[in-house]
């Protein structure tokens, strides 16, 4: 199935009744060259890059529920590459460049919208920190602009500029940042990977690993039987520790709940993605009109996909401080997803000490924007057995070596990242 203006016209003349399934719901075969655990954005992207970039097409993606039912469908859909530390800058910019060509690559409308991401600053010290980050980005070839108050007023006249405690002074803008339709990203990768022969197997929960006498992983035990594999890649952020434990591994990761919110639909208001610098609040407006927003993780270990009231209150207070007029907008939905909070706030993409088992984990609450980049570098690792150059710092042993990538500088306390 190839999508084009012609396929759209053809379908329109038949009343849109003849669209075919965009990907194949497969049953497991006995053996694959590579088995990916986790049918979220990262797992499906990895499978697609394996097939398209590295010529490995005998690949299965195993998903315990339905594809995109975890964090891929629970995030706030933001894409950006405004990071400041070596390791992160290059990787997230690689990912940003892949977002920019994703729709052509996949032949799928993932609604990538480069509407800009602006981080507001509220003090001289914060302006200096943002200027430094912007300069770091520009040195690395990433777009960044430091806006003063007048420029922010022109761009977003609806903000509260009379906040005496946290006055808006300006913002750091990345114009190439923006949003993408999260579900469509999952379906797009499934569509393109399936067309290249990748088996996407749903309702197939991994319950253990098959190992040979030397301890090498030779396959996975699942709720749909044993599946042999040359290599096994884990892309199960949120549940990484639980799956790794089946192979006897302990990870530098805690699972935490992050809530997200959407309001009732209102007329177009917010032109971009913006963040409040004096609290933790980020917001954009969906094409349907709802304000999509979020803030901090709840702060305690959790595998329950729901959070508690104090964080809801805190997030809404952040929104009210920035835009008091949204106080009369009603909250439509609120939900929670489980984050792999790593010990330095950065991801882990590496071989594990278990032969044949590869790890893609620790995305904290920044996994969505990383989806295409993560897929490419994880596919590279699986295909070549060595890290991609833009993921060379995301090693599992960096904690032991003291080579942390800690953007926030808070140390080994996962709930503070």
């Amino acid at each position: 199935m190839k999508y084009s203006i012609f396929s759209l016209a053809r379908a329109a003349f038949s009343g849109h009744k003849n669209w075919q399934r965009t990907w194949r719901d497969a049953s497991p075969k006995d053996h694959y060259d590579v088995v990916i655990i986790g049918g979220g954005g990262h797992g499906l992207a990895t499978a697609w890059f394996l097939a398209s970039e590295y010529g490995i097409r005998n690949v299965a993606v195993l998903e315990k529920g339905w594809i995109g039912s975890g964090n891929a469908g629970r995030n706030t859909t933001i894409i950006r590459s405004n990071y400041g530390l070596p390791g992160n800058t290059g990787f997230y910019e690689l990912s940003m460049k892949l977002w920019e060509r994703m729709e052509q690559d996949l032949n799928y409308n993932t609604m990538v919208s480069q509407r800009g991401v602006i981080n507001l600053y509220h003090s001289d010290a914060q302006r200096d920190a943002y200027a430094r980050r912007g300069n770091t980005m520009r040195i690395n070839g990433i777009d960044a602009e430091l806006l003063d108050l007048a420029a922010v007023k022109k761009m977003m006249p609806f903000l509260n500029f009379d906040n005496a405690r946290f006055p808006v002074q300006g913002g750091l803008l990345q114009r190439r940042g923006g949003t993408a339709r999260h579900d469509a990203v999952v379906w797009g990768y499934a569509h393109a990977a399936s067309a290249l022969g990748v088996d996407i197997i749903q309702n197939c929960e991994v319950t253990g690993f098959s190992r040979d006498a030397n301890g090498k992983v030779t396959g996975v035990e699942t709720s749909r039987g044993t599946i042999g594999a040359g290599k096994v890649g884990m892309a199960v952020a949120g549940s990484s520790s639980r799956v790794a434990a089946m192979a006897g591994l302990r990870l530098p990761i805690e699972s935490h709940v992050l809530q997200a919110f959407v309001s009732e639909a209102i007329k177009p208001l917010i032109p971009n993605v913006m963040t409040f610098g004096a609290g933790h609040f980020y917001v954009s407006q969906s094409d349907k009109g709802g304000l999509v927003f979020g803030g901090d993780i709840d702060g305690y270990n959790s595998y329950a996909q729901r959070g508690n009231m104090p964080v809801m209150e805190d997030v809404c207070e952040g929104g009210m401080a920035l835009m008091p007029m949204i106080g009369r907008v009603r909250l439509l939905r609120q939900w929670g997803g489980i984050m792999d909070m790593s010990m330095d706030g950065s991801p882990i993409i590496d071989k594990t000490p278990v032969d044949g088992l590869y790890l893609n984990a620790g995305w904290c609450y920044g996994g969505f924007k990383a989806t295409p980049g993560s897929g490419l570098v994880f596919a590279h690792l699986l295909a070549r057995n060595e890290p991609h150059k833009e993921a060379a710092r995301f090693r599992l042993d960096r904690f032991r070596r003291g080579a942390m990538i800690d953007e926030k500088g808070v140390g080994a306390q996962p709930n503070l990242h």
């Binding site: 302990r250 530098p252 270990n301 595998y303 329950a304 508690n308 104090p310 904690f399």
Partner: protein, 91 residues
């Protein structure tokens, strides 16, 4: 989630701060590099009942040891954990 503090009674979650898993114990000064690495970075990340340290900063300012199920958020016990900071240092 509400926590029944042994000193203050039932209080809302916002009064408490989370430290984390109560299991890791700081190695003694003579501990090996591996012990320090394990204590600092590796976690069981329990899915189920887990023993944790919480701080009642919005109330009596006591450290508490709470057993809580990470799958359901159900709390099964709350005990005072006086001197948790000191208790974390092993022998």
């Amino acid at each position: 989630m509400r926590i029944v503090c042994p000193f203050c009674g039932e209080r809302e979650l916002g009064e408490f701060t989370y430290l984390g898993d109560a299991k890791p114990v700081r190695p003694s000064a003579g501990g090996s590099e591996h012990d320090v690495f394990d204590y600092l970075y590796l976690r069981d990340n329990v899915a189920g009942a887990m023993s944790e340290h919480w701080y009642h900063g919005g109330g009596c300012r006591a450290w508490l040891k709470i057993t809580r199920n990470t799958l359901t958020h159900e709390i099964s016990s709350v005990e005072p954990a006086a001197g948790v900071g000191a208790a974390k240092v092993g022998g």
